[in-house]
């Protein structure tokens, strides 16, 4: 009985670690999106250097908004690593 519970906990912990890693795949999307936004911002500053302040400000806001999906993935990963909600569901 005790061994079974240990096994169950081990499976849950291992699967949670895998899940935390998998959740961070969400970082790909914001990375690509922000890179594209920054590239476009550089392009437009090169074309119109006098508007660099406004372009930079708008770009940072856009980056922050685009980042939120990545942040959600990160929060899921952090929950699985430090506040695992599944480990307490195992009852002996």
């Amino acid at each position: 009985m005790e061994n079974n519970e240990l096994m169950a906990r081990a499976i849950v912990l291992g699967a949670s670690a895998l899940g935390a890693g998998t959740a961070m795949i969400a970082g790909i999307g914001p990375g690509i999106g922000e890179g594209y936004a920054v590239g476009k911002a550089c392009e437009s500053i090169g074309r119109q250097p006098e508007s660099s302040g406004a372009v930079t400000r708008t770009m940072f806001i856009g980056c922050a908004v685009a980042e939120s999906t990545g942040i959600y993935g990160l929060l899921v990963a952090l929950l699985l690593m430090f506040a695992n909600p599944f480990i307490n569901k195992i009852s002996g």
Partner: protein, 250 residues
């Protein structure tokens, strides 16, 4: 040299916790926790208030002192930013934006003093986002009237009602989660880095790694990220609130 230490990690594990509860008391059956965040926030409020009180003392119109120049620069910067982003008719809105920015950035930077960041507790950004949420809807009701406000929910077709409500509710959630996630990810990554480097130090025996690298990482995560998130938070607040008002559409 034990490389095994690197893979095994330290027996203590990594220490990532929520804010500590200093004391808790019952008020009419509701447990109120006095957390680290609350105490540090009040400390920040006190220090900032005293600082501002000192900086604005003895204001003159002729041969002004250095601290008055600083005070005037802060005020004119905040007012200029609000005028640029929201338009001239939102001029009176600058104090709220300035207060939000100051609280957010000092709340993040307080981690450089070795205290726990206020913004690394989800309650703090959530509170600010809820204040902004109330302001957005208050502005909307003020400009469009209660009927026009309610009509906005069934704007294109009445079928859109649940989607519109959800998108309104998503605003404070995404704003607060973005701020919280950025700060707390910096905190976790710094502690993971510190943990890994101390394992390297333990296996090599020379403490050359733990000194420089975490400082650089904390410079990025605390200074740059803290500033960036405070800025993004106020910019989004201004954008949402001035969007709720129809006057900007010209």
């Amino acid at each position: 040299m034990e490389i095994g230490n690197l893979l095994r990690g330290s027996p203590d594990g990594i220490d990532v916790r929520g804010p500590g509860v200093l004391c808790s008391f019952d008020v009419f059956g509701v447990t109120i926790n006095l957390t680290e965040t609350v105490v540090i926030s009040w400390g920040i409020i006190l220090v900032v208030a005293l600082l501002l009180n000192w900086i604005t003392k003895d204001m003159k119109t002729k041969d002004i002192s250095k601290k008055q120049v600083v005070a005037e620069w802060i005020v004119s910067t905040v007012y200029g930013l609000v005028d640029d982003t929201m338009g001239k008719h939102w001029h009176n809105f600058a104090p709220y934006i300035g207060a939000l920015f100051t609280f957010s950035i000092t709340g993040s930077l307080v981690s450089m003093l070795g205290l726990r960041s206020v913004t690394a507790d989800f309650n703090a950004p959530l509170t600010w986002a809820l204040v902004t949420f109330v302001l957005i809807h208050g502005t909307n009701i003020k400009t469009h009237g209660i009927g026009g406000y309610l009509k906005g929910y069934i704007d294109p077709v009445p079928v859109m009602l649940p989607i519109n409500i959800l998108s309104e509710l998503a605003t404070p959630v995404s704003m607060s989660l973005r701020h919280f996630g950025n700060v707390v990810s910096g905190m976790v990554i710094t502690s993971l880095l510190y943990f890994a480097l101390s394992a390297v130090t333990k296996s090599i025996g020379v403490a050359f790694m733990t000194i420089g690298i975490p400082a650089v990482a904390s410079l990025y995560f605390d200074l740059f990220s803290g500033f960036m998130q405070a800025f993004v938070f106020i910019m989004l607040t201004m954008a949402y609130i001035s969007n709720a008002d129809g006057r900007n559409e010209e």
